[in-house]
Amino acid sequence: ELSEKLESVIKRISGRVVLNEQTVAESLREIRRVLLEADVNYGLVQDFLKAVEEKATGREVIKSVSPGQMMVKIVYDELTGMLGGSSRPLIYAAGQLSVFMLCGLQGSGKTTTAGKLARRLKAEGRKPMLVAADIYRPAAIEQLATLGAQLEVPTFVPRDTGRPVTGITADALMEAASQGLDTVLIDTAGRLQIDREMMEELVEVKKAVSPQEVLLVVDGMTGQEAVSIAEAFHRELELTGLVLTKLDGDARGGAALSIFGVTGVPIKLIGVGEGLDALETFHPDRMVSRLLQ
């Protein structure tokens, strides 16, 4: 289940006793290609290759292993090292209302993820409320309300979409408290990280609700802009976690390594389907295999 390119790396440098500079350089070119084609951030790939080169050059090859296999093992170990500790659990407030805020670019999967989270929390014995804070997209409120109805989870719907979102979310918290609920999931509108006004709206919402989690929802197929996008949201909001969606497809998911590798924001969950049950914990080792396939 290794990519053809890495298999050819193994074949090409077989029959050598030490990983010399030329051997390593050839292999690094192939590895660079594999990672870039997996959408891993360009700058991160450069740093990664340097680290691999240091580990590889001049190493003696273990008797039972071919130089090529050793090279690939070094890559595996380095990637696993980089993604180690990238998976973290959700943070709840002790003895009071927990608030999770979902944000991200247009179409990344926020509303669906809010539904999935509500389902998971309910299954864990918690009492969640969904909050429809996207007052812009046509029928966004209906979309979330439909999910809430399917899950039999209360959905807070703005009475007046002319009011600012901060007022809506503050009202939602009061409503959740009065209903004796314990977790509030706020679905926000998709926005560009370069949209000053819309980013400011998120900053205001965060101030208004003091969330335990500010989750950036990122499409798992996102390309080279992943880091720049995440950095902007992180700078404005101090993200507590990432959710990568649509990993049920054949995208290699380099955005995961890129964002965690550069910003250190942990990956809390992954989306693996459109169904409300399609939410999983992130497994770094599975991601490494996915990146190298």
Binding site: L36, D39, G107, A140, D219, M221, G223, K246, G249, D250
Partner: protein, 280 residues
């Protein structure tokens, strides 16, 4: 940097980095850099401006074959039927609304069809847009067969003498075999109801996505015969460089660019502006 007859190696390296960071992909980037390096060795490059100009010319070559097909194919008689497809969340429904506005502003009577009978709020979303546009909408109950909606919609377009019919479909990953077959069936049913329809199968790509867009294009094209691409969300910071590989491999014309979330935010694709964005 080492001079390649008047051109700094550093400039070529910077351009390589720029292209890779624009989601061009390794293959297309290496090919372009090799071509430009060869030009440099022949002495045809005398600085940054030459490099940019030559890069622009190389891209024009890539887009040349598809350039003649960027207009929309209209039906010889009767309604022109357009099927909008693509993976989840790329911008299909919003693009349909923008396209309806595009045609209305050209005096055409547009009919819309709510072919996404699956996702929560999908029919409502298109209904809202139809209201804003003052456009008729064909819809059925959520959960109904999308092919049945398509059949109804084509019948309605014919009997009501609409100029344009645009059908929405549910988002689906190209790896979901059963869902791809659902689209194939929808297209077949449309063709049964009206000869030659759909006249356009538009694949919407999200400019923010990376190399996976090329796989999407390949599979959707294999299954359906895509007639054109829409690059949505080009108002973001992503440069949709994978469109180059797709054009090289499949020759699919890019018909429109989505540049925002309102009805006015649809542009006919402009190659020069696309190159400007890449080089910016």
């Amino acid at each position: 940097g080492v001079l390649v007859r008047g051109l700094d190696r550093t400039s070529l390296d910077s351009l390589e980095q720029l292209l890779l960071e624009s989601d061009f992909g390794v293959g297309p980037t290496l090919r372009i850099i090799d071509t430009l390096t060869a030009e440099g060795k022949k002495g045809n490059l005398h600085g940054e401006d030459d490099l940019r100009e030559l890069f622009r010319r190389e891209l024009r070559k890539v887009f040349e074959p598809a350039a003649g097909k960027t207009g929309l194919s209209l039906a010889a008689s009767g309604p022109t039927v357009i099927l909008m497809v693509g993976v989840n969340g790329v911008g299909k429904t919003t693009t349909i609304a923008k396209l309806a506005r595009y045609f209305q502003s050209r005096g055409k009577r547009v009919l819309l069809a709510a072919g996404d009978t699956f996702r929560a709020g999908a029919i409502e979303q298109l209904e809202r847009w139809a209201e804003r546009l003052g456009c008729e909408l064909i819809k059925q109950q959520p959960g109904s067969d999308p092919a049945a909606v398509a059949y109804d919609a084509v019948s309605a377009a014919l009997s009501r003498k609409a100029d344009i019919l645009i059908l929405d479909t549910a988002g689906r990953l190209h790896t979901q075999g059963g869902l791809m077959e659902e689209l194939v069936k929808m297209k077949r049913v449309i063709g049964k109801r009206m000869d030659g329809a759909p006249h356009e199968v538009l694949l919407v790509l999200d400019s923010t996505l990376g190399q996976n867009s090329a796989s999407q294009a390949r599979v959707f094209h294999e299954k359906l015969g895509v007639t054109g691409l829409v690059l949505a969300k080009l108002d973001g910071t992503s440069k949709a460089g994978c469109a180059v590989a797709i054009t090289e491999q499949l020759g699919l014309p890019i018909k429109f660019a989505g540049v925002g979330e309102t009805l006015e935010d649809l542009e006919e694709f402009d190659l020069e502006r696309y190159v400007d964005k890449i080089l910016s």
